[in-house]
Structure formats: C-alpha cells, structure tokens
C-alpha cells in the first residue's frame, strides 16, 4: 500500500475506480514542493536549483525526468512572474530576441548532453554498477551548489560587515564590463533601451548560450546566471535587466520544456503537484522575507546548499 493511499484513502480509492494512477509519494511531494518554493521565495535565489537533485535523492526520480519536470513547472512560475511584472516598457525586447537565439542553441546542447548521459547506461566501479547519469549529475549539482553557497555566504558576510549588500561579482563588474564591451568582433549591435551604443553580437549570444546550457542540462531557471550577466557582462541597468530576465526566461523555459517533452522527460502529474505547492510556498516565503530584514538570514541559504552537497556526495558514496 503506498503513501498516497494511506494518507488520502478516499481520493486514492476514487482514482482507483476511475483507472487513474496517482503518484505513490503524492503527500511527501506536495510538502517537498512547498518547502522548496518557500526557500526560493524567502532567499530569492537558487532555490529552484535544489529541486532536481533533491527529487532524485529523496524520491529516486531519474535525473532526466526531474530536470524535465522541474523545467515544465517553471513554465508556470515564469508565467506568474511575467503577469506580475508591471514595467513592461523597461524590457529590452531586441536584447531578449538576440539572447534567445544563443539560449536556444545552448539549451539544445544541454538537453542533448542529458539525453546522451541517460542513454550511457552504467559502468563497473569497485565491483558495483554505477549509473553514468546519476554520478555525473550529482557531481555537477554538487559543484554548482558549492559555488553558489560560497557566493551567498560571502555576500551575506560582506553585507553584515559593511551594512549593505556587496556581491562577489560587483567588485569585478567595471573591469569585466569594460573588457567585454570593448570586444569589437563584428557584427556590432546597439541596444537603445539598455543605453548601450555598440556591443558585439557574440557577447550577447555567448551569455544566452551559457544560460541555455544551464536550463537545458540542469533544469535551473538560469536567472542566477542571466541576471548578473545582463548587468555585469552586457552592462544593462538594473531595471532593464530584471524585465529582460523575466521576458527572456519565459520563452527560453518554454523552449526547454518543449525540447524535454520530445524526449519524454516530463511527468505532468509531478509538474502540476510541484507547481501548485511550490507557488504557494514561494508566496509565503516571500512575505516572510519582507518581514525579516536581518542580513544574517541569507547565510542560511548557504548552509542549505552545503547540506544538499553533503547529501548528494553521501548518496554517491553509498551508491559505490
């Protein structure tokens, strides 16, 4: 007897009579989605990146399905972000369209890489069979979460010391922006909405490709790379970067969802469940964050990220 039947006997019996197959971990997945949504809403960054590795760790959902389903449910959250965004005039549509070309290319690379790993099967290590997909994805997620955790920790520490938020990237910003904006590789494009006279098209395509790769391969929203890249690499003003990130994110996640759909990586019941529960959790997390002005709280995200890394590495160790 599964968990869903034990906790929701009437609903499960009704579904059984209708011939529907309910997810065996329905209640735990709902709580899980709510918590991940809460973390995303409260800390504002990186929460969605925890979704796929934890779906695999706690519920044994294969990485390709976890990534595809996470991306599909993000289609809902990006719709919500787009509806809620009030300043449509501040979106740089030209920049979005150009970035989208790079994103689509990068995303296709990411999806194909995931497909390759899915089909790679397993190999023998220390007398045990190790799945290539599981091992690679766990290591990649661990490295990325460790990096993000360290950035958030340093940011929180710096804001505690200086009394204002100083990001790790912000110290390198003027040098990096100046260098990249001086790349004169044609064709050069102007972005009047962002106030940029001329920038190489290749820089924009490169930024789009990097975010696309992350979206397609890891099922991450890409905002944690796209936002700093728009500000520090391309040189957009903050308000334009926010709007462009939301607008471009909607279409790139849409493309990623479709691409993963073709590979059969999306469990729609899981998508609906995670979308509803995480959206509610997100809202509650965001309201709680508004009421908590303590910069120390951001350090907590770093510890959550480190804990997930330990969890992933422990699972690999047990797997071996």
């Amino acid at each position: 007897m599964n968990e869903t039947f034990t906790l929701f006997p009437i609903a499960a019996y009704w579904a059984h009579l209708q011939g529907l197959v309910l997810h065996p971990h329905l209640p735990s997945l709902t709580i899980f989605g709510f918590l991940i949504g809460g973390i995303t809403g409260f800390f504002g960054v990186g929460g969605r990146l925890l979704m796929a590795p934890l779906l695999n760790t706690f519920f044994n959902i294969p990485y390709n399905v976890a990534v595809g389903s996470n991306l599909s449910q993000m289609m809902g959250t990006s719709t919500m972000n787009l509806i809620r965004f009030k300043r449509m005039r501040s979106i740089d549509y030209k920049l979005s369209a150009l970035m989208l070309i790079g994103t689509v290319f990068g995303m296709e690379l990411g999806v194909q890489a995931l497909e390759f790993l899915t089909k790679a099967g397993s190999f023998q290590l220390l007398g045990k069979s190790v799945g290539v997909l599981h091992l690679t994805m766990s290591l990649v997620y661990s490295a990325l979460l460790l990096w993000i955790g360290m950035i958030v920790y340093r940011e929180a520490k710096a804001s505690q010391q200086d009394g204002l938020a100083q990001g790790l990237l912000s110290t390198h910003q003027p040098v990096m922006t100046a260098r990249l904006q001086h790349i004169q590789l044609p064709p050069m494009v102007s972005l009047p909405v962002s106030g940029i006279e001329a920038i190489s098209l290749w820089v924009i395509l490169g930024v789009g490709m990097a975010t696309g790769l992350l979206i397609g391969f890891l099922g991450a929203g890409g905002g944690f790379i796209r936002m700093p890249a728009l500000i520090y690499v391309i040189g957009c003003p903050m308000v334009v970067a926010i709007g462009t990130d939301i607008f471009e994110g909607f279409f790139s996640i849409g493309y990623g969802t479709l691409s993963h759909s073709f590979k059969g990586n999306i469990d729609l019941i899981l998508v609906v469940l995670l979308l509803i529960s995480s959206a509610l959790g997100n809202q509650i997390g965001a309201v709680l964050a508004k009421n908590s002005a303590n910069p120390k709280v951001r350090q907590l995200f770093a510890f959550i990220a480190f804990a997930v890394v330990i969890l992933l590495l422990t699972k690999i160790a047990f797997y071996l």
Partner: protein
C-alpha cells in the same frame, strides 16, 4: 468531457515511469499549456495569500 478524458489518457500513457510510454501531440501541448494556465490561476491565488499574510503579519507588529 471528451477532451479531458483524452488529456488524462495522453498524460498517463506518456508518463516516463510507464514502460513503453507513448508521447502524443496532445501531451507535448499539455506540458507547455497546462503550466501556463495554472500559472495564470495561481497568480490570483498567490496575490490573495500575499494580501492576507501581509495583513496578518502587519497586524501582529
């Protein structure tokens, strides 16, 4: 009702856990359209939650 039944069938038969899963055009469409529809509905629900929570937490302060 017919469309709903077809949609449920498409979702069940395309579930990745199901052996020999069959992906139909309707399933491809649903993967993109359903989250968008839910996103629109959830926007209003979360706005209500936000108002309620803000009132609740503001009242306590």
């Amino acid at each position: 009702m017919g469309l709903l039944e077809e949609a449920i069938k498409a979702v069940i038969s395309a579930a990745p856990q199901r052996p020999g899963n069959q992906i139909s055009t309707l399933y491809l469409l649903l993967n993109v359209v359903l989250p968008i529809i839910l996103g629109v509905l959830l926007t209003w629900v979360t706005k209500l939650i936000e108002k309620g929570l803000t009132l609740l937490l503001g009242g306590k302060r």
